[in-house]
């Protein structure tokens, strides 16, 4: 009955992503209309500056791969993660991902401060692709994990920053994914909660076939990853073994 699913995999072939920068000027309709009426003489307005965020990136990952992404600020780590989450269409090349993707890039995604904790868990779950029934089935587990107890029935805006982080973390990690994308290892809350959060993330990583983690923390990468790739101005190095991290960083 259930079709044999193809194995979990990530494949980027010659992935190039350019961000057009629509200047403040370009967003005004008047400028566009003006450009039409003057027959395109104001060529600078029609021309859109582009930033190449990823430049011919090649990447093949199979189940069991835990890839660490390193690189300076603005080197394209987050862009690559977002592209892998399916938000961006490449300008050239292709991205192919087999398996359910969970992108833990922004914990505050879909959090509505005026709604209650419970409602926020539901909403976040829906965005992550769970059905209402699946969310209700997991609700007790998520609620007890947050440790917020009766506060879950109160609006999130009444929470302290730490409590909000707990809620967001619990809701965001209540997914089941084959491909886990993370921008920095998310460690939130007080020290007790951090331990719990850590365990939960590890479990999630274990269940997921593939992890892609962008981080500046080399110790962390050594701990969780078995492969590493360095991005420099949108250009990717080859995927190498994590044991060669130092050589890669020095290169």
């Amino acid at each position: 009955m259930i079709k044999k699913a193809p194995p979990v995999s990530i494949s980027c072939r010659d992935l190039t992503l350019r961000f057009p920068v629509y200047g403040v000027d370009a967003k005004s309709l008047k400028k566009s209309l003006a450009a039409v009426t003057v027959g395109g003489r104001l060529g600078t307005h029609a021309h859109v500056t582009e930033v190449t965020a990823l430049n011919h990136v090649n990447l093949e990952l199979k189940p069991g791969d835990r890839l660490g992404l390193v690189g300076h600020n603005g080197s394209g780590k987050t862009t690559l993660l977002r592209a892998l989450s399916g938000a961006y269409e490449p300008d050239e090349g292709a991205i192919e991902v087999q398996g359910r993707i969970a992108a833990l890039l922004d914990l505050s995604l879909g959090i509505d401060p005026s709604a209650t904790g419970l409602d926020n868990i539901r909403l976040r779950g829906r965005i992550a692709g769970l059905s209402s029934r699946e969310i209700e089935a997991r609700m007790d587990e998520i609620a007890s994990f947050t440790g917020l107890g009766p506060f879950l029935a109160m609006p999130v805006k009444t929470y302290s920053a730490g409590m909000q982080a707990r809620l967001a973390f619990a809701a965001a990690t209540a997914v089941e994914a084959d491909v886990l994308l993370m921008d920095e290892w998310i460690a939130v809350g007080d020290s007790d909660f951090q331990k719990l959060a850590h365990k939960r993330l590890l479990k999630l990583v274990e269940r997921a076939g593939i992890l892609v983690l962008a981080s500046h923390d080399t110790d962390l990468l050594r701990l969780y990853c078995n492969k590493v790739m360095r991005l420099e101005g949108g250009v990717a190095s080859a995927v190498t073994d994590i044991r060669k991290l130092d050589e890669l960083m020095a290169a």
């Binding site: 259930i2 193809p6 190039t16 008047k30 399916g86 292709a94 993707i101 709604a115 409602d119 965005i127």
Partner: protein, 276 residues
């Protein structure tokens, strides 16, 4: 959902491929209509959180407007109130839905910027969110419609099946305009103001506040898309007939409108997330 999913994103591979991908987006949004519904109902609930009447506040203010305009203008136009009040009650409620879908359409993609830039959710999901949100609001305002139809006895002659057909035509047409406004507003930040002005203008040239027969066969009616949309839902409820020409216009408008909108979407789809 235990099935493994497959995601493929590629560079441009020609126009046909762009249309194919746009169609995939549409189909994916159909599979996840529940999500659009959840987002829409969350929008309504969160907008009126803590208020006692909730969306009925708008219903109430609409009701007051209906009453005020109905009583005063019935005198000015010298039309019996039992003819005039139901006319503008239905006019205000249904035109409110049309203009709500279109005006809020401007924010469809702009408001979803965060979600669009880090998930693979279909873009059409957010179009349906706007449409469904306005339909939820309409459900509340139907109180006015039912009340007026009952009080003035129109319920005996109301043709509900034709009304429902008209409602389908209304949604089919308002939704493409809504989506088009959404795409245009993402790219050009002037569009929302333009749309608001146009909709305000449209409200006065559409027989929302005045009886159709006062104008006779005027170009303002025949060439006004909102007139046909409004008539398709209002006339059946008031025991009238919708001219078959109106259905022709509505059908053509839906086909051409969706054709154009879908084409623009297919071409700009990969760019929309960068506009935001």
């Amino acid at each position: 959902m235990e099935t493994a999913t497959h995601m493929l994103r590629t560079g441009r591979r020609g126009t046909l491929f762009e249309f194919h991908m746009a169609l995939r987006d549409l189909r994916a949004s159909g599979d996840r209509l529940g999500l659009a519904w959840s987002l829409a109902s969350h929008d309504v609930v969160s907008r009126y959180r803590g208020s006692i009447l909730g969306p009925f506040w708008i219903t109430l203010s609409m009701g007051l407007m209906v009453l005020g305009i109905g009583v005063v203008y019935a005198k000015i136009f010298a039309i019996p109130i039992n003819e005039f009040l139901p006319l503008i009650a239905l006019g205000i409620v249904f035109f409110g839905t049309i203009s709500g879908m279109i005006n809020e359409g401007c924010e469809t993609f702009v408001h979803a910027a965060k979600m669009l830039s880090q998930t693979s959710l279909p873009m059409f999901t957010f179009v349906w969110r706007t449409v469904l949100r306005n339909l939820i609001n309409l459900m509340h305002h139907l109180v006015i419609v039912v009340a007026v139809l009952v009080i003035y006895g129109y319920w005996r002659t109301a043709d509900v099946p034709m009304f429902l057909i008209g409602a389908v035509f209304l949604v089919l047409n308002a939704s493409w305009i809504s989506m088009l406004a959404g795409i245009a507003s993402a790219r050009f930040r002037d569009i929302p103001q333009v749309v608001t002005s146009v909709m305000q203008f449209a409200m006065f040239v559409t027989p929302v506040f005045w009886p159709v027969n006062r104008l006779g066969k005027h170009v303002v009616l025949a060439a006004n898309p909102f007139y046909h949309m409004l008539e398709a839902v209002r006339a059946p409820l008031m025991g009238g007939h919708v001219a078959s020409s109106s259905y022709v216009v509505l059908t053509l408008m839906a086909l051409i409108g969706w054709g154009v909108t879908f084409s623009i979407f297919a071409v700009t789809r990969r760019r929309i997330v960068h506009y935001l």
